[in-house]
Symmetry: C2
Subunit: 229 residues, 2 copies
């Protein structure tokens, strides 16, 4: 048998402060799947990202000799392969609601909040692409408040975002908000309901690896890793 | 019982030439689910899109007294609720591949091809937003050829995009390509493998409703509805 130990290791190619990588990291940690995190600074010369994923995106999960890409497909695969603890509910209509909200955050929240704010305030600095555009940042910060209002409307009659149990939808939302919270761009005083929800999910052991993230040159907000914020 | 017949009718709020609406229409038709199509010209005054979907996006499916949004969540829900004919394979790793490719088309192909080309050549005209930007169109057309090369690399050792059976991934891809084909922007001579795949899916009864689409002011290419193109 020529399978080396390194080939059977589960490995996640990722970058700190990517909400899509964070969602997969949360699922892996919640299911207690041991994973080796490998940072792929894909904008630097020598990155092999296109060899690992022709879509040129992170995260990429190396598992069972395959390279798996697309965060939502990876998360659903992990939930099917490692069913406990479950992150998808049993009934079809409840699963629909989880998937609807994952799309809400990975598509709409990402386009209106995470991507503009993180691009301007983090990635332009890290990738040396110039100074942030303050109008784009301002529009993104305003959109965060709108989305917090929407989350509040859900949490007024649900314990978690998609219903009364924690699901992948909570991890998708927390993955995005945690990136913005790293740079102190979430005004938690805007909604006590959303703050309480985030405090619950932030205190889970699965969140610890995210709270230990540090991106060189971009310092986390003082409250970022505090469970009482 | 006060349930009126109109409330039990399944209704899809959609717009012609939206790949996301088309994907859902293909799934409904393949499963022979009767649906009333209601056009929602959401950019015109009086549209109730935000009341039906706070994300402000089409399609929205009214079913069982609920309003369902997000095309991928809708399609997976329909496949779970109406399992025959199945559009998702049995094994977790095969389902992963279907979902990966759905994301490929709904995210990457959409951003690089469908959205720029359709925005410039169709929606600007329909919504009276000015003239198309030829550089954006050119970049989109060039990206279509790159994506056809990727599809060809899959079809060289698979009968359908995600494996040897037709799945939701084929519907996602065909939904995007059919919009671009309406305006004659797919060069089928670029790959005979992709052309053969499209001829197979285009000849299915589920495709008929799409081939009958007509957007006022934007005429379909002469070959658009031909099964021999």
């Amino acid at each position: 048998m020529n399978t080396s130990s390194s080939n059977s290791t589960i490995r996640l190619y990722h970058i700190a402060l990517s909400p899509f990588c964070r969602k997969v990291r949360l699922v892996l940690a919640e299911k207690r799947i041991e994973v080796e995190l490998v940072e792929d600074r894909y904008w630097e010369p020598g990155s092999e990202i296109l060899r690992r994923n022709p879509a040129g995106k992170l995260p990429v999960l190396r598992m069972d000799g395959r390279l798996l890409a697309e965060s939502q497909a990876i998360c659903e695969y992990l939930d099917e392969k490692y069913p406990s603890p479950a992150l998808m509910p049993h009934s079809a209509i409840d699963r629909f609601e989880v998937r609807r909200l994952c799309s809400w955050f990975d598509d709409k929240f990402s386009a209106e909040c995470t991507r503009p704010v993180m691009n301007e305030r983090v990635w332009k600095k890290v990738m040396r692409l110039g100074y942030p555009d303050s109008r784009t940042v301002k529009a993104g910060l305003s959109a965060i408040r709108y989305h917090m209002d929407y989350m509040k409307s859900l949490l007024e009659h649900r314990r978690w975002l998609a219903g009364d149990v924690m699901t992948l939808a909570d991890f998708a939302a927390a993955a995005h908000l945690s990136c913005l919270d790293y740079i102190s761009d979430v005004d938690w005083t805007h909604s006590s309901e959303v703050q309480e929800w985030y405090a619950k999910i932030k205190s889970r052991p699965a969140f610890r690896s995210l709270l230990a993230d540090h991106l060189p040159g971009v310092h986390p907000a003082p409250h970022y890793a505090l469970l009482d914020f």
